[in-house]
């Protein structure tokens, strides 16, 4: 019904409607901390090694961390809109702002083997994603413990770790891999809004100043209004 109304409102001008990717699982909380420069930088280095071949970071042109990790404009891929059958790897400079860190953190760890899908792997957060699983070597291969057809019914009830099982171990242990992905998400979170570091630093000063100003003005105001109150009571006494 909602869709119908929307179509009516849009006057049938929509030519192509995006299949809404809906996650099958509850997202994990990403333990991000972008103030921790070391993890952000590690994440940037991992990103350069594993993701920059497909994904650009086009708004990160001059910041110090991307430079240091070697994420520079001339290495960034440019896809036209028809590449990858119309789903080219998107730019990731704003991905955390539009999806959330938790979404990316869960997405990256929930690839599983699916011979029926074109890339050989499917994903619990984004079903039928065109992104190939980049982590076969380090995470290993995960398999689904329930039949694919059951996913519809249990949508949103479980976490990915309750549905997937590691079939072959990769080069990293589970913990190492979680840290690895978390570093990456940390970098992506930083990249989505680099101002946040500076913002929170200046913020406390600005707000502190406003609080002082508020107190001074309040004291001043009360002393002005004292006269009025006094006069008011004098006149009503009479």
């Amino acid at each position: 019904m909602k869709g119908l109304i929307l179509t009516v409102i849009l006057g049938g001008t929509v030519t192509y409607v995006n299949a809404i990717e809906q996650s099958f699982v509850k997202p994990d909380k990403a333990p991000i901390d972008i103030k921790d420069r070391a993890t952000v930088l590690r994440g940037a280095v991992h990103f350069k090694a594993q993701c920059l071949t497909c994904h650009s970071m086009k708004y990160m042109r001059f910041d110090e961390i991307s430079q240091e990790a070697g994420i520079v404009p001339k290495l960034m891929p440019v896809w036209d809109e028809f590449a990858w059958g119309g789903n080219p790897p998107p730019d990731l400079s704003l991905v955390v702002k539009r999806r959330s860190a938790d979404w990316v953190y869960t997405f990256l760890r929930s690839f599983y083997l699916d011979a029926g899908h074109s890339t050989g792997f499917n994903n619990l957060v984004w079903h039928n994603t065109k992104m190939p699983n980049p982590f076969v070597g380090i995470q290993g291969q995960q398999v689904l413990m329930v039949p694919l057809s059951d996913l519809q019914h249990i949508r949103g009830e479980k976490r990915w770790s309750e549905l997937l099982e590691l079939e072959t171990q990769g080069a990293m242990t589970g913990e190492q891999f979680d840290d690895y992905v978390n570093d990456m998400v940390n970098y992506l979170a930083y990249a989505s809004d680099p101002s946040s570091l500076e913002r929170e630093k200046i913020g406390s000063w600005v707000i502190g100043y406003m609080v002082v100003l508020f107190i001074v003005l309040l004291a001043l105001s009360l002393s002005y209004w004292d006269d009025i109150k006094r006069k008011h009571y004098q006149s009503s006494d009479k």
């Binding site: 929307l6 539009r98 913002r199 913020g203 105001s221």
Partner: protein, 315 residues
């Protein structure tokens, strides 16, 4: 002749100041609800000042609009601050305006003799919405584009003249770069000028009839021997200082949002608007900004486009 006299015999600045602040009497029982008028002026000033700076970096073309804002957010010193101030400012403006409106309804400030004060206020609210809507389109993200489209279709639903009007505003048969540039002109020049003129008229009306107050007493009906309302207090310094206290309190909240949660988790800057506009992909859900949401809900509740639009306007 002193400098002051020289000026004031040619341009009566002091007289004006005296007349409208020092000898303008406001009821002494004005309470919390009466802060929102001056706060609205503060918000408008914040929007104009931050807007001027944004204008220096923003490029109004379909190709560059989105990028120019991200450029500002990352590479212009304090560009992020101005952008967030402008975005949070827009939402705060509506919070303040809705409080101001609520006050007027609660204390009956729309009644005689304040009918025109009320009417100019309603026009100001509509203008503010038009200003916010055109501004919302400028970043040219997904939500900008699709919200523009939905609203344009409301105009298109008017019988007979709807389509020509829609095409006139859009400047094209569909929402396109031409629309973006029209909205840019409206947002930056046309609407702010009309808005400021309306604010002026609103204040002229206010200073003619005077403030209402919680008790609904007309202070002008009870004047002392000196011709001064007995229950009135000179606006300056008593209410200027009171309003300054309110302004500082407001700014504490305002800056806390700007510095610590400028998108308000997607309420002030929607997540979907961090993807550049794409006419081929409809977002999963098209939502207007929160401050327009009630009107949009009325529209959506009525399946017929025209009737829905009528219900929305009358609401």
């Amino acid at each position: 002749m002193s400098f002051n006299q020289w000026i004031n015999s040619r341009l009566p600045i002091s007289d004006f100041f005296d007349q409208h602040l020092r000898q303008y009497y406001a009821p002494k029982n004005l309470n919390f609800w009466y802060f929102f008028g001056s706060l609205a002026i503060l918000c408008l000033s914040i929007q104009i000042i931050s807007g001027i700076w944004l204008l220096m970096y923003y490029e109004p073309t379909a190709k560059t609009a989105f990028d120019s804002i991200e450029f500002m957010m990352r590479e212009v010193p304090y560009g992020w601050l101005l952008r967030y101030v402008h975005a949070v400012g827009a939402s705060s403006f509506f919070v303040i305006l809705y409080f101001h409106l609520y006050r007027a309804l609660m204390y009956g400030s729309y009644q005689r003799p304040r009918e025109l004060l009320w009417l100019s206020g309603v026009l100001l609210l509509i203008l503010a919405m038009a200003e916010a809507y055109t501004g919302y389109v400028l970043p040219w993200g997904q939500m900008s584009y699709w919200a523009a489209k939905v609203i344009m279709n409301i105009f298109g639903a008017i019988p007979f003249i709807g389509e020509p009007i829609m095409h006139l505003i859009q400047g094209d048969y569909v929402v396109s770069e031409v629309t973006l540039q029209r909205f840019f002109a409206f947002h930056v020049v046309a609407f702010p000028m009309i808005l400021l003129a309306m604010v002026f008229l609103h204040l002229v009306a206010l200073h003619t009839v005077g403030s209402n107050n919680p008790d609904g007493i007309e202070i002008k009906d009870n004047k002392g021997a000196d011709g001064i309302p007995k229950d009135g207090v000179p606006f300056h310094p008593y209410f200027t200082i009171k309003d300054l206290v309110a302004a500082a309190a407001f700014l504490i909240i305002f800056f806390t949002i700007v510095f610590y949660n400028p998108t308000m988790d997607g309420l002030f800057l929607e997540k979907e608007n961090f993807i550049p506009a794409n006419p081929l992909v409809t977002p999963p859900e098209i939502k207007p900004s929160w401050y327009l949401a009630p009107y949009y809900a009325i529209l959506r509740a009525v399946p017929n486009q025209l009737l829905g639009a009528l219900a929305m306007i009358s609401g």
